[in-house]
Every structure is written in structure tokens, then in C-alpha cells.
Subunit: 672 residues, 2 copies
């Protein structure tokens, strides 16, 4: 009888780009630096296209181990071994890995229980693994598939293969038998029993292998063959090992195999039957060896590479890239990082000058997506050099509206930003209304109230003290996180306001921090009337705004990660109140010329012209009417209302000089 | 005889836009907040155009009090009173100002010496002043001209005026007399003597007024009349006062005047002669009063406004606007500021990542105009959110070259920047060359050497430790200011290298500061081989880079203003070595989580692998060959060369842990 070595057609991997997409997400969000092999799944099936290797494919569903396979496909288990560096990928001992992964995936072949489990889930025999290195930053992937197969058995084919229909030509029922055994066949491995005459044929699941194989002459070991070349597919190798182990065959035994090659599982036309003699050394299971690394496109045993960047939607790409740096924080340095909270947080930026621009950029860096800009100015030629959201083009022809330019330019940096803008003038004490302006003032007021209500965090980055008054009142009333920053020539102030009465988390104990106006001995009024050019222009050392803007955002990030949010105590003095990002002081004052920073905290002032109970009550009961009075009444209106005027004479100003924003101080601590 | 009150045709001011241009420059560069009245000059002349008021014009030459008037024009002295705020302008007492300015400009009328001076410089009689408020930020100007005239005298005209040529009809020589008296006439005021018959006429300078006026009947007081209306020009008012005072005339005296209206000074056709009776109260000079505010376009006594922004070249406008904030510093807060030095300084930025972008922006804010970017990367989608010179557009289609995008985008922010870029890979220890790459490496090396030689300040903002090695050696060799910044997750290092041996100012005493590598116990090598994604990506809190970038630039600004430049001692420990901008520490390490900064300084290390004498000597003698050895030899090559390897065993690592950039530290202090 003709006898020749049986060859197996090796598997060919097929990776859908959705596989990498899902893996990137999983890696960034869940796995981090974890290098444990990750259970995944692949699929194979009979191949309609002639003359191609068996294909094992993976896609996004590979990470959902509970997902059903696609119609007509067989789902096989796999493992993904991702290294964190390209170097590791390179240096990993590939032989060692094949042994350990082969054993991990096919170890069930060596025990009775395991073999029994395979009869129930025969797709284990098609197991695979992938060694990968994912450069998530560049969307480049190095990967190497392996389809481990036990190497112990040498297989000879005895005589020529016979087409299935010819082999079963005596059985008129054969088509209907197979056609009605869809379910059984779909496992990928099955048993065919035939009578000696070949007139009767039955298809059984692998679970009945022991019973069905009592007479080896009458049993055919069937499998869905994913190969469409002459040779059967790679999966047959482990199937033969399984049959030998399960039936405890002796070396030299001859068995009959059926390579089932249906287009659909019931069609028999393309399958064939063949007999093989299996030879092996007894006891090979004691020290099993595996082969199965896939060859790369050059035909060598080596990894493949794929660069997905070019094929991705640029805006999507930008979005995932921007989140990348942030998600990486979670891996090691900041495991408590809540990126989702950042994505959801709505920030209101009042003032789109140097501070507003720097704060917006730093917010974007932290993953903040929702920003509303409020400003009333236009971009002037002196702005772009220090106001980092504008360019020369924004200045031409009188200048674009600042809030709009800031909102739009931020989107042009990163299209994933959700920005909007309000070109309004914030009503200010000492800036009276007139008949002509009152309706405009009211409209601006209402817009501001709406924006404060809608936001989670408000940044006060305005260029006068009085413009901060109404936002401070509103922040207090609606219990928002309020971060305040102001600049001097070579100094800065960054502070958070104490939690407002409108904050649901406010308890008496947490109301220990004051607002920007709590240290004032005079009410805010028109400070712009008599300022010389160098006082108007916020003449500062350029670095000051970058530092203050950065600290303001970092303070917010720390607050958002503190369980008590803006009720958090000033944790430089109370270390047990730290956030996962460290201390959250009440205020930071920095001085460039001496290199010093101080972090004073101070209590709410019961006569504060912005956040005291009296003010909030008055605002609660009279709303816009009260605001109008503040705008139009003489400068001491707020002082009389709070009783601040009574204190003025005997106020010990020495005690507060460090923190005061009094007139003198104001000249050196302008704001922008 | 017909008698009627003589009217005077008021002056009309004409301001060329070059006047404001020169004033802005003077204000910003020289005057600052100085509000002293500023001597300027104006011009007037006979008017060719019929029926218009006398015009007094000012332009850029008005600020050069030594400049000659334009041909045919008379130069008159003026004062410019600029207020620093619009409010001051508004609130200034205009009557009081008229008295004080009138006295300042025309006070010479009240003394014999003064009157004598006027005979020599009669244009004093045409004096004027301008009250201004200049909004240099918006190129808007409020201004109000005044032409003070003494009001004491009431003037009646006796009989009709007579055309000059008719009046002198008996004198055949009259034309030639005037034609030959050009010089005398050009003073604007002159004396005409005629014989009784009118046959002889002579023209004399005002200096001979006493002599010439002995017989009032035969003297005519002439003046070039800038009016082309029927009435004589405003300047006649002060002329009459002068004549009265100089000749000690009695009230009621009648004198003859000649309004000379030449197109050119010798033409007599349009002039006329008239007689006036002057009446006044004796002793009016004891309490002189003045009038003369110009009416505005609405015809009211009030200021005029001009907005020059629209008429200016946008790029020029941007340039002067950007300098504005900086020049304003000189006014009050930083009088020693040397903007010109900033304009001239050439900065080399190595690494165009988050730090490179922030540093470049801050440099632009300080008035630095010359920046060269060096980077080898492309802009990727994750960059723009934190790297403030790039936008989404720069990432598309594989990304623009970073150094080029940075250089071009900086110019699009401010066209006045002079930027260039080098897309090179900096040769690095531990990154060997091959046959194939060596010519490329050499080219890159030579480019780097050239750029270091050409720059004044070098910023090391690279993302690995080893990439800083060669620039450090070159900075040392060529004696450049070297500022180094590196980032950790929530910490940063900003430092300056000690002055290099190539620095001409280096004396032994000033070589007290080390470089980035002076605290190392291992030579730099390939640190990128085995970094996981979160270590490659410089995972940092976004604020860290803004703070470090700002501090790096502020450190440079302070150094450039220190008399000893980069030889300045670490002035946090030696306060007497402060710059006008305050302390200049050797290094700053900041920690966001604790809010702390420390400013350690350390000495040069004689076994330093970058700046020690041994290294510089080796580089001096072997150049690129030495660099090649560093790249290609084993990691301990530099250690053996400096003797660092001998020290390694008994090194007390506890002592340097705070400052070390050792392997462990490197993982948390990455760089970008």
C-alpha cells in the first residue's frame, strides 16, 4: 500500500483592525502594566476559497470570551501575551514561551479529566496565542501568532484520499444524515460510525468517542477542515494526539479520518476520507514538545508589524491619543486618576487673557473636555505673544471676539473639545448702569447666572478686582468650585474659595475657608478709572501667568480627586486631608524674585462683601435688583450692608497685610 | 474814520500720524510715567490755499527741537502735556492749565530780557501746547491743542485794509526790497520803514524795533500771516502784545500793521496793510489772562480723538504692540530692563516637546526674537493637547516635522519672530553608529556644533538624559548660557550649568557651579531601550511642564540682566549676587504634591562625564572622533576616561540622593 508522510497545512492569522482598537482600550483602561497572559478567542471555519491555508481570525469580539462565534465558525481559545516594551518582546525566549504556552493551552491532553473536557469542548485543540508589543502612542503593533501543536507523533498516509461522497456511495442517506447533524458537526470535531457494508452511517459528537470507537475499523474521526489546499489543516495534529491519548492507541495503529470541507456544515462535496498510521514513542506526554510559530510575510519565523495610524479617522485618532497620556498615569503613578470625571466636568473660564488661555490649555491637558469662555474683549495685537490661544490672524481688522476665538482655537488644537463662548460684560460694583444700558446689563447678568449654574468649576481670571465680585457671590450661592488667580509683576495668587452655602456637602465644620474678598477691608469698586497704561496692561514677567495658570488647574485636579471635593480642608496644614495628588492648600502666593511660595489659609469673614450670609441672603431675596443696587449705589453700599464700615476705623491692618488685596497691594497685584 | 473791532482767525491744528508714532516710541522708551511738559515744536507758514484758517502742523520732527523747519515754514515752540490716564485728562482743570502754560510759553513778554529775547526769536509769539492722553495699547489718542494768546488788549481796525502793492505804489523798488529781504522775513515778524513820501522802503529784523519805531508814523509792523481768510491770523494777538510791551505804548495808540501773505516769502500780491488802535488797561501784565483752546470737529471747545490702528501695517502693529507690555515694565516695575538685549539674544531650543513649546512661548513674551528649534520627531496626535505650538492640522498625514512646525507656528503667532529649525538627531552615548549611519550622524553633529556656536543661550529640553550629553559638552566648550529642564510626574528640575571654560568671563572663582551630569555616578547611556509606554511618554501632571518652562525662561531673563551673566553666583545662598529680577539659584526642584521647592547648588565635579577638564580636553583634541567613541564604545568608556569608575564602589550615595539623576530617579524624573 502506498505510504507517505502526511503534511499539515499551517494556519494563517488574520487580524481585523478592531482587534487592536479593543486591545488598546483594554490596555489603557484596564490592564495597564499587567503582563499576565490575557484570555481571548479566535475563530476558524471551512474555507470557500480554493487553495488557501486555514485562517484563524481575531477581531474586537476576541476580547469578549462569552461572545458567540460568527455563523458557521468555530470559536477557539487563545492567549494574548503583551510585553510592555519592544525590547522585552525581542528578548523573550521564544522556545521557552512555546513550551509554557503550549502546556497552558493544551495541558488537558495529559489528564483523563482534561481529555474528557476536550470531548465536550473540542475547539481547545485549535488553541493559539499571540505575542504582542503595542506602541499605543504611534498605533504601531508588533505581533507573532503561534498555533501550538504537539510534535510527538509521526503520521503516514496510507493510500490515496477518497472523496466523501464516493467513500459513502453505498449509503443513500449520507447527505440527509450529515444535513440533520448540523449541531454535532458545528463543534468542529465529530465521530462517524458506518456499518461494515457502508450502507448505514451515523454522526456523533466527540463525547461518544469511547463507545463509538470500540471497533476502530468502523469509525471515522471527522473534523471540519479549514484548509482548502490538498493537505488537511494544522488543527488535525492536535486532534490526532487527542485520539491517541483518549483511546490509548498503540504506536503503529491505523485510523480513518474525514476532512469535512463543507461550504455550509451539511455539504459533503469537497471533503475526503483518508487512512493514517500514527507512530510515536510511548510516554511522550511526560515531556511534551510543541511547534507552531507563524511565519511572517517574508516567509521567515518572525513577528509581523502593522501601522494603523494611517487608516484611522484623524479626529478619533486625536481623541484617543490625547487620552493616552492620561490613561498612562493610571498604570503606575496615579492609579486613582478618574479620567471619566475629567471628561464630564464643565469648566467656566471668566476672562480669556493670559491666565484664561493658559488655564484652558492646562485643563485640556488634564482631559477636561467642556469649557465655556466668558470675555468681553477683542484680540489685540499685543495679545498673542502671551495669550496662548491666539495668533496674529485673530488680531487683524480690529480683532476677533476673544471668547469666540479662544473657544474655536481650542477646538482647532484638539477637535474633541466641547467649547462655547459668551461675549458678555460681567456687571461690576462701581460701574453704574444707565437707562440705555440696563437691558444689556440684565441680559449679561442672566447669561452669567445660567453659565455659573451649568458649570462644575469656575475660574476667576479677570483683570479687575470688582469683576470678580458677582461671580464670587454666584459661586457661593450655587456651591461651585471656584478657583481664583491674580497676577502681580513677579508674584501671583492662586486660591480656591471656601465651599458655598449652595454646596450640598457643606457642613458647618467644612466652612472654614474664606473667599477672595474675605480679607478685604474695602468693598470692590471701580479700579479702572485712574490706572496708567502700565497698570492697565497687567505688566508681569511672562512666566508668572504660566505658573499661576498651571497651579490653578492643578489645584482643581486635586480637588476633583478629593472625596470631599471643594469642602476639602486646606491640607498643607492638615496633612490627613490630602488628595491622591497631594496637598490642596487654600491659597498659594508665589514670589519669583525670592523664589518663595507661601500657602496661607484664612477663615470666612462674617462681614465679607461677597460671601457673607448677609450678602447671600440679600441676593437670595432680591436677585438682580440687589445687583443693580451694588452697581449703582455709592461705594460704601456693600460696606454698610455687611457692617464692614463700622470695623474700618479700628481695624488692625498690620494683621492682614500679608493677605490683603487692599488698594496699595492692588497696584502690584493686578490680574489678567 | 470807520472803526471796527478786529477779529483774529483762529489756528487749526494738523497732526501727521508720524507725530503719534514718534511720541509712542518716546513715551515707551524714554518718558515712561514722566508727566513733565515735553518741549516740542510746530510749524506754520503762509497759506497758498484761499479761505482757510492758519494751520499749525506737527509731525515726527516735532520731537527734534534742533531740526530745521521745512522750506518756507516758521518753527514755533510748543509743549506736550501727556496724562497717564484718560481720567486725568478729563479731570484736569483746563482754565488753570491755560494760565500755567500760557505763562510758561509767553512769560517772556513780561520782562525786558524776555522781550529782548523775543526780538531775536519772535516765533515764541506763535507758541502752542497740546494736552494728550495716548492709549498706546490701542493706538487711540485723545488730544487738545491750545494756542495761548494774551487777552488784555482790545483792537480796533481804523479804515479799510489796503493791498500791499497799492500801499507802496510810490515805491518802485518795493518788490526788489522784499525779494532781497528773504532772510529777514523768514523769521515771521519784521519791521518795514518807509519814507514819508513812500518812495523809500526798507525791511528790518525785529531786533531793530526800538530804533525803527522812533517815529511810529513811518513804521509798519509786519508779520507773515498764515491766514488766507479776510481776517489776520491768531498769531497777531501776541505780536500786538509784544509791540505794546516792547515799545511801552500807551492805550489808544494807533499803529500800522502789514499782513504779509506770500506764497513764497518775497511775493507781495496777497498781503495788506491796515491800521489798528490798541486799547488796554495799564498793568495788565501783572495778572495776565490767556485764551486759545482749539475747537473740535463738532465746533465745541473740547478734545479730538484719533484711532490709528486701522491705518497701520498689521505686522508693524503687532511688533510694536508686543514690545509695548515689555517697555511698560521699564516705567515703574523694572527700570533696568534691557529690551534691546532681549531682541538681540539668540536662543537654541533643543527638544520641541511640551517644554520646548512652553519655553518658546515664554521667550517670546520676554521679547526674545531669535529662536532655533532642534528636534527630530514629527507632530503626533497626542502632542497638541500639551505641546502648545501645535494644532490638530499639524498631525494629519503622518505629522509635520516638529522643529519646522514649531518654528513656523511661532511666526504665525507673532510675525516679528525670527525662527529657524534643524531636523536633526543629536548624537547620544549608548546609541552606536553603523557604517550606514555614520555620515548622517556626522552631518547632524556638525549642524549641532554650528548652532551651539551661533547661539547665546541653549535650552536643554530633551526627553532623555543621554541626549543632553553632547550639548552639555558643547555648551561648556563654547561658554554658552545653558538652561536645563526635566520633568517628573509631579516634580521638575530647572537648572543652569556653571559657566564653561569657553566663557571669556570665567575666572576660577566663578567656576563654582556644576552641570546636569556633575551629580551622576554613572555615565549616560541608552535609557530608551527598555522603557514601558508610561515611561516613554513622559507621563506628567500637565501643569508641571508649564511651571518648569516658565521658570527656565525666568532664570534666563535674570541671568541676562546680571552683570556677570552666567558667571553669576547662586544668589539664593549669596543675596549680594542678586540680579535686578531677584535671586538666580543654581537649580530649582519643585514638587507639586507637597507644594515645596528647593534650590540646591552644587560644585563642578572633577570626574563629571560631561563638563570636567578631562572631557573638554579630549573633545578639544579629538572632536568628532571622540564623540564617535562615546557613541560606540561600551557604556563605561566615559567613566574610565574621567576616573568615575574608580569612585563608584566607595561612593556614598546617601549624600547625593537629593540631587542625583540616577537610574531610579530617572524613572520618576523623565524629561520632555
Amino acid at each position: 500500500m502506498a505510504q507517505e508522510k502526511l503534511l499539515f497545512c499551517p494556519n494563517s492569522s488574520q487580524i481585523d483592525s478592531t482587534f487592536w482598537g479593543s486591545f488598546c482600550k483594554l490596555k489603557l483602561d484596564v490592564l495597564g502594566l499587567n503582563e499576565e497572559p490575557l484570555p481571548i478567542s479566535g475563530q476558524y471555519g471551512a474555507n470557500e476559497i480554493p487553495n488557501i491555508n486555514p485562517v484563524i481570525s481575531v477581531d474586537h469580539s476576541s476580547f469578549d470570551t462569552a461572545a458567540n462565534p460568527y455563523s458557521g465558525m468555530i470559536k477557539v481559545p487563545g492567549l494574548l501575551i503583551n510585553t510592555n516594551t519592544a525590547e522585552q518582546f525581542k528578548q523573550l525566549d521564544k522556545n521557552e514561551l512555546m513550551v509554557s504556552m503550549g502546556s497552558a493551552l493544551l495541558g488537558k491532553l495529559w489528564s483523563e479529566d482534561g481529555l474528557k473536557e476536550i470531548t465536550k469542548t473540542p475547539s481547545i485543540l485549535g488553541s493559539f496565542y499571540i505575542l504582542t508589543f503595542a506602541d499605543l502612542k504611534k498605533y504601531k503593533f508588533i505581533y507573532w501568532f503561534a498555533f501550538p501543536a504537539v510534535t510527538a507523533i509521526s503520521v503516514e498516509r496510507l493510500g490515496p484520499s477518497e472523496p466523501v461522497l464516493e467513500y459513502f456511495k453505498n449509503c443513500t442517506q449520507v447527505k440527509s444524515v450529515f444535513s440533520s447533524s448540523k449541531e454535532t458537526l458545528s463543534a468542529g470535531f465529530f465521530i462517524v460510525n458506518k456499518s461494515e457494508t457502508g450502507q448505514d452511517v451515523s454522526v456523533k459528537s466527540l463525547e461518544s468517542i469511547d463507545e463509538a470507537s470500540k471497533s476502530l475499523e468502523n469509525v471515522i474521526f471527522g473534523f471540519i477542515d479549514p484548509s482548502s489546499l490538498e493537505e488537511p489543516g494544522w488543527v488535525l495534529r492536535n486532534y490526532l494526539t487527542f485520539i491517541i491519548r483518549k483511546l490509548k492507541l498503540k504506536s503503529g495503529t491505523v485510523i480513518t479520518m474525514m476532512a469535512h470541507r463543507p461550504k455550509r456544515a451539511s455539504q459533503l462535496e469537497k471533503g475526503y476520507i483518508f487512512r493514517v498510521k500514527v507512530e510515536f514513542e510511548e510516554g511522550f506526554e511526560a515531556n511534551p514538545k510543541f511547534v507552531g510559530w507563524e511565519r511572517n510575510v517574508k516567509g521567515a519565523f518572525g513577528p509581523r508589524q502593522v501601522d494603523l495610524q494611517m487608516s484611522m479617522n484623524p479626529e478619533k485618532l486625536a481623541e484617543s491619543s490625547v487620552d493616552l497620556n492620561l490613561k498612562l498615569m493610571k498604570w503606575r503613578l496615579f492609579p486613582d486618576f478618574n479620567l471619566e470625571a475629567m471628561h464630564q466636568t464643565k469648566c467656566l473660564i471668566l476672562g480669556a487673557g493670559t491666565l484664561g488661555c493658559n488655564v484652558a490649555r492646562c485643563l485640556m491637558g488634564w482631559g477636561i473636555r467642556n469649557i465655556v469662555f466668558v470675555d468681553n474683549g477683542k484680540v489685540s495685537y499685543s495679545n498673542p505673544a502671551r495669550q496662548s490661544l491666539y495668533t496674529f490672524q485673530d488680531c487683524i481688522d480690529g480683532g476677533r471676539n476673544k471668547s469666540q476665538a479662544a473657544a474655536e482655537n481650542l477646538k482647532s488644537i484638539f477637535p474633541g473639545m466641547n467649547t462655547s463662548h459668551k461675549q458678555i460684560m460681567i456687571p461690576m460694583p462701581g460701574h453704574p448702569t444707565s437707562e440705555a444700558t440696563i437691558s444689556e446689563v440684565k441680559k449679561d447678568y442672566e447669561t452669567l447666572v445660567q453659565e455659573v449654574q451649568d458649570c462644575d468649576v469656575m475660574f476667576l481670571l479677570l483683570d479687575t478686582r470688582e469683576s470678580r465680585w458677582l461671580p464670587t457671590v454666584l459661586g457661593q450661592k450655587y456651591g461651585k468650585i471656584v478657583i481664583n488667580a491674580a497676577l502681580g509683576f513677579d508674584s501671583y495668587l492662586v486660591m480656591r474659595h471656601g465651599p458655598g452655602s449652595g454646596n450640598p456637602n457643606v457642613s458647618e465644620i467644612s466652612k472654614t475657608l474664606g473667599c477672595y474678598f474675605c480679607t478685604d477691608v474695602v468693598a470692590p469698586g471701580d479700579s479702572t478709572r485712574d490706572r496708567t497704561l502700565d497698570q492697565q496692561c497687567t505688566v508681569t514677567r511672562p512666566g508668572v501667568s504660566m505658573i499661576a495658570g498651571a497651579l490653578a488647574v492643578e489645584m482643581m485636579a486635586a480637588l476633583l480627586h478629593h472625596p470631599e471635593k471643594n469642602c476639602a480642608k486646606a491640607s498643607n496644614s492638615e496633612p490627613e486631608a490630602c488628595s491622591p495628588l497631594g496637598i490642596i492648600p487654600h491659597s498659594i502666593r508665589g514670589f519669583l524674585s525670592s523664589g518663595q511660595t507661601i500657602m496661607p489659609s484664612f477663615q470666612p469673614f462674617d462681614k465679607c462683601t461677597a460671601c457673607s450670609e448677609k450678602i447671600i441672603q440679600e441676593y437670595d431675596s432680591r436677585g438682580f435688583e440687589f445687583v443693580l443696587d451694588v452697581l449703582n449705589e455709592p461705594a460704601d453700599y456693600l460696606e454698610k450692608l455687611t457692617g464692614l464700615n463700622l470695623l474700618k476705623d479700628d481695624f488692625d491692618s498690620d494683621g492682614i497685610v500679608e493677605l490683603s488685596d487692599s488698594e496699595d497691594d492692588h497696584q502690584s497685584v493686578n490680574a489678567e
